[in-house]
Structure formats: C-alpha cells, structure tokens
Subunit: 196 residues, 2 copies
C-alpha cells in the first residue's frame, strides 16, 4: 500500500517551508497542534466535506475511487478555549488594497451571525500584505450591514482588526489576541477568569 | 456529470426508512438539522477525515481518484448549545448484554476527558437493545477508571444513562435530556438561564 507514504511525504515537505512562504492554513494547524499539546485549547480544523460517488472495499478497508469536494457552510476551525465555544475561518488574499468577500462561501457570512447569536466567539483570520489580522465576527457583520461593497478595504481591516505577530512557538499565537479581546478584565459571558 | 445525482438518490432513499430501522447517525443528523432550522443549537457532524493519495483537476474542479478513510481522534459531533461547547459521539451495538469499548477509536476516550477538563459538555449516545441512552462523559470515564473490563454492562448504561425517547419531530430529541442533566436549576458553568 503506497499512498500513506505519499501523503506523509507531502506533509513533512511542507513543514520545511520558511514561515514567510508557509500558507495560513499550515501556520494555523501548527499553532493548534501546539495549543492541544500544551492543553491550552482544543481547536481543530474540520475535515473538508467530500461527496463519494464511487468507493470500493479492499483488504485495507474502504477506498474512495471517485470523490468530489463540497463547499462548507460552516467555518473551517472550531473548538473550545477557556470553557467557550470558538469558531473561525482563515482567508488569505494576494490583493493589496481590499479583501474580496467572494472569498467566503455562500452561507458562511450568515453562519457567523448565528454563532455570535448563540454566544460563541467567532472571527476571521485574514492574511493580507504579509500580515495576519484577527477580525471579529461582529466587525465583519457591521461592515456588511453598513456597506454594499463586494470587498473590505485594507484600511478597515487595519483599523478594526488585531494584528497577530508571528513568533517562534507557536508561530501564529492568535489565542493571546483572543485573550486580550474577549477576556478583558475578569470574565467572558459571566464565566470566572481561568488562568492560562 | 453523474455523481451528484447518485449521491442525492442515496440520501433521499434513506429518509424513507422507518425510524425503527433508521441508523443512529441518520437519526442524529436529522435531529441536528431540525435544531439548526429552529435555531435551538448549532451542532454538526464533523466530516469523516480522509487522506487523498491521488486527485485530478477537471472542468468541474478537483476530483479525488484515490482516497482512504482515517480514524478520527476527536468525537463525531460538536457545536454550540445555550452558549456552551458540546461534543459527543454516537455508537450503536447489536450486543445485548454489554457495550464493547472497542467501539471507540484509540485516543477518543482520552479526548473525552480533555473536553470535560476544558469545561465542555461531553457525552456518548449509545443505541442498544432498541433504546438510545445518553451516557455522560463523566460516567464513562469513572467506569473506565474503576474497571478493567473491555465492555460496559448494559445494566450500567441503564442505571447511569438517560433514556432518550423517540418522538415525531425531532426524532431523537437529545437536547431536552441535555437540558435536564446539564442545565438543572438556573445555570450551567455560571451562565444565566436562557429560555429555549
């Protein structure tokens, strides 16, 4: 059986990228793995939903011979941090002046609103012009409600977003920023402060 | 492009099953869809993680030509309910006297402990002898810590578990049981009671 090796090879190759060139998803996955290892949070990327049109049974189990990718209607990452539900999406654009909203799948923007209404922490990590910003779901929704533009100007992201500084380990320590934004003072949503 | 129709056909066929024969996963998916529609909770089944060893690009996008299923190390369902993080697993056995722990993938039992430690609501829905029980993660862990058996006797599940009665809509209303167990009185984890 050859394929598990092939997959592994691809993965280990990507770990050798320099951070500058490493894509956002890899940075986040690496950071989440670090958080899990340190027992700081349990946040994972949801597997990409696929549809299977042909599968066969072999001695190694069920193998997909024809599958296609579906569009997710929820966000890519979710989990628990300091007793709270957290869900977020990661997006990256080469565009320098504005972030095209077409980067979101249909339903995702409405879904952000729903997660917030249910009391979850919900945001987007946007990589643009070499910086990664955390933009709160609330600020994304306000923008959409107050504008008819099909993209968010970089100035809005710079002004409303929180810059996440790249560091050594974890590379993209977004939870430190989450702490500052959502757990200011002593509590979030009536919860007592938990030292992390 | 033929496969999307094929998939749809399979799905609609399964909706015609009588509840008695319907498998646990379908019952839960149907119930979760109802909860989302009613805006009572946002709980979804995580897609099964797959590994891809061969993919091709076609006019319809990227198509998987060789893929295999990976074992999940987290639980199957997660989401948010009444502001709280919820994660659970669904298992069904034909065994009448005891529930084999081999039904869990490696790492899943340890993971339940971690979700609880982070303040999440975590449980297993077990279908056995025609009944569906909610067994709290805490009770599952106690059993594992106090026993060396490789299976949980049905009597333990009957005694510690909470029976979920099948009804018309939603079919498997497990959140009503979650309410009774975790939101007794006014609050959970310091949260104020939210009417549902």
């Amino acid at each position: 059986m050859e394929y598990p090796n092939k997959i592994k090879k691809e993965t280990s190759k990507s770990i050798n990228y320099s951070n500058r060139g490493m894509d956002l998803e890899l940075l986040i996955n690496e950071t989440n793995a670090y958080y899990v290892e340190q027992d700081r949070a349990l946040i994972y990327k949801k597997p990409t939903p696929i549809g299977i049109s042909e599968a066969i049974y072999t001695e190694h189990g069920r193998i997909i011979k024809n599958g296609y990718f579906k569009s997710p209607s929820t966000l890519d990452y979710n989990g628990i941090y300091r007793g709270c539900y957290v869900e977020f999406e990661a997006k990256e654009t080469q565009n320098k002046t504005s972030f095209p909203l077409a980067n979101f799948h249909q339903h995702q923007l409405g879904y952000i609103k729903r997660v917030l209404a249910h009391g979850g922490i919900c945001f987007v990590l946007i990589k643009m012009n070499g910086n990664v910003f955390l933009l709160k779901g609330e600020d994304l929704i306000s923008f959409l409600e107050e504008n008819t533009r099909k993209s968010i100007p970089y100035s809005y992201i710079e002004q409303k977003g929180y810059l996440i500084k790249e560091r050594y380990n974890p590379t993209l320590d977004y939870l430190t920023v989450v702490n500052e934004i959502y757990f200011k003072g002593d509590c979030f949503n009536g919860k007592e402060k938990i030292e992390t």
